[in-house]
Amino acid sequence: MMILKLAWKNIWRNKRRTFITLSAIAFAVLFAVMMRSMQEGLEEQMVKTSVENSLGYIQVHTKGYWDDRLLENGMTVSDLPIQSIKDLDNVTIVDSKLETGMITNFGTQSRGTYVLSYDIEKNLPKQVSKKLVDGKLPQNGKKEVILGIDLADYLDAKIGDTLVFLGSGYQGATAVGLYVISGLLDFHIPELNRSTTYMSLSSLQELLGAEDLVTSLMIELEKPSKLNETATNIKSVVGSDYEVMTWEELTPDLKQLIQASSAKGYIMNFILYMIISFVMFGTVLMATQERKYEMGVLQAIGMKKRSSMLLVCIENIIISIMGVILGVVAASPIAYYFYNHPLELQGDSAKAMLEMGVDPIIPFSINPMIAVNHGLIVLVISLVLVIYPLLVIKNLNPVSAMKL
């Protein structure tokens, strides 16, 4: 107990020394947390954009649809246990989706487009109304469409113009219809801006001659981390006639991209920790050398080596914990700020991200586990570094230590 008191007093005795060690640890935590926060934020962003824009976290289709995306492999809405899926834990939204490739034509220009259904009443998928940059969403009962700005640009069509949609409907029937452009969408993703058209589910079903038909159910989750668990639950609800796929299965490319980015992140983190370790070791080294005289005196007046080793240990633990807490406290508001005000990329890196279909912004992650994990790692490093002063004390000769 006395040693604990002594350690506490020692810490505040030389405030400058304590401050140097403390700030080394705090900055280490700050940098590690910021870096990881940015990396995880980027990964989350990649998943989020892709999942929100087109996929949903989990999709349900008729078995075989994903490999052979024909309307004939679609599902009848009334056969689906939509309510039971909605009632499952962690499921927030179940969106019925119908999608198919068609030709759209205006004047002399024609272009292939991907036509997706939009639920007017429920305003689903949500990003449609968010990405609307001009005009209005389609109205119920009207033959209206909204489409990507680049597609409209290519067709040389404006809001109010009538487009021809032409393609293969249900069971090979010809699908053809005229639709008025009611609004334009900007996804910030060239690929989507060039190719996407939305019309109301009922309009699209009518166009394709397929009443009550959908191609997939898109399921949004409250906690994306419980992805596989929820998928298993959905599987047991829908039965074996349907396939239940998570976004990881729907876009293995994205999954791999994230794994690669993660691996890169770990290497960067490892390098950062090497640097942090040396900086911290530097401060420990100086602090130890500085206190050799003091330790020599303590031993000369009868303090046992074991006691003074314990003393240094306790001092170090207290400073480390304080440093880690300080670092986390400093990092949190910064991470939170960049979570709300994401970094916007410019130039080539922005372009590269757009091509991958991801918004060129980096919101920081505010996953509390990042702070906990990296705080602990820094704590462990500083505790490992205590070995140095312990060794010094162990081999200390009081007489030579007191000779200045």
Partner: protein, 248 residues
């Protein structure tokens, strides 16, 4: 004696070259015989899918390989729809909305009217006669007709959608009895079967044809020729976009 041997050798070599027909010639004869300068046909197309079957009847006029026009007669929903091929373009007239649509290049690899025929096949951008190297590899019997089995590989500078085509062409009448289409990786994509050879419009040809995609189980398109005339008088106006609405 030497002279005799020399003559004998020349004779054998010469004789050999005349008895083995040239693969280029066979393909050329087969193509010109089938298409003529102009042609008119009435065709019934049946699309067979695991979950449904769909029938369609069409009339089609062709002029050389550059021009063709196809009018759909049934089903009722598609009646009056016209497809016009002009060199590298495909135009589609849709009577229900009274619009003329040019097929965008991105849709060329898509299926034509839900069949196993692709829009690309209608265009026939590459010519079997000019753009392929040909080699007779065997003689085989197909549907009771002795056939030359000919392998066609696209010439180096030709942009073909096929990596290889194998054709079985009958020795008599140069009829295309069977054709296998392979992609760049030499994977089989489609097989064309010619069946039920009949004399139609003065021409002996298989009238019940089918296209079977290799990797889709239960899919097939049957093409039944009910009427065919070649080298008839065809008004050039018929191959213009202006004429498409009046074709019905």
């Amino acid at each position: 004696m030497k002279k005799i041997i020399f003559i004998a050798i020349t004779f054998i070599v010469f004789g050999f070259t005349v008895t083995v027909p040239n693969a280029d010639e066979i393909i050329k004869k087969s193509e010109t015989r089938l298409k003529g300068k102009t042609s008119y046909s009435e065709i019934k197309i049946t699309t067979i899918r695991p979950k449904y079957t769909r029938e369609m009847t069409v009339k089609t006029w062709t002029k050389g390989t550059d021009y063709s026009v196809t009018l759909i007669l049934s089903p009722a929903k598609d009646e009056g729809t016209v497809f016009l091929k002009r060199k590298n373009e495909i135009w589609n007239y849709i009577p229900s909305i009274d619009r003329l649509v040019k097929m965008p290049p991105s849709m060329l690899s898509q299926s034509w009217m839900g069949t196993d025929i692709k829009n690309d096949d209608l265009l026939e951008n590459s010519s079997l006669v000019d753009d392929y190297n040909k080699k007779i590899v065997a003689t085989e019997e197909i549907e009771g007709y002795p056939c030359y089995k000919i392998e066609l590989t696209p010439k180096e500078d030709v942009n073909s959608i096929w990596g290889q085509i194998t054709m079985w062409i009958s020795k008599a009448d140069y009829m295309q009895m069977k054709v296998k289409y392979y992609d760049e990786d030499k994977e089989l994509v489609n097989t064309f079967y010619g069946r039920s050879v009949k004399l139609i419009g003065g021409l002996k040809m298989p009238t019940e044809n089918s296209i079977v995609p290799a990797n889709k189980k239960g899919n097939k398109t049957k093409i039944l020729t009910t009427k065919r005339q070649i080298n008839i008088e065809v008004n050039d106006n018929i191959f213009t976009t202006q004429y498409m609405k009046r074709l019905n």
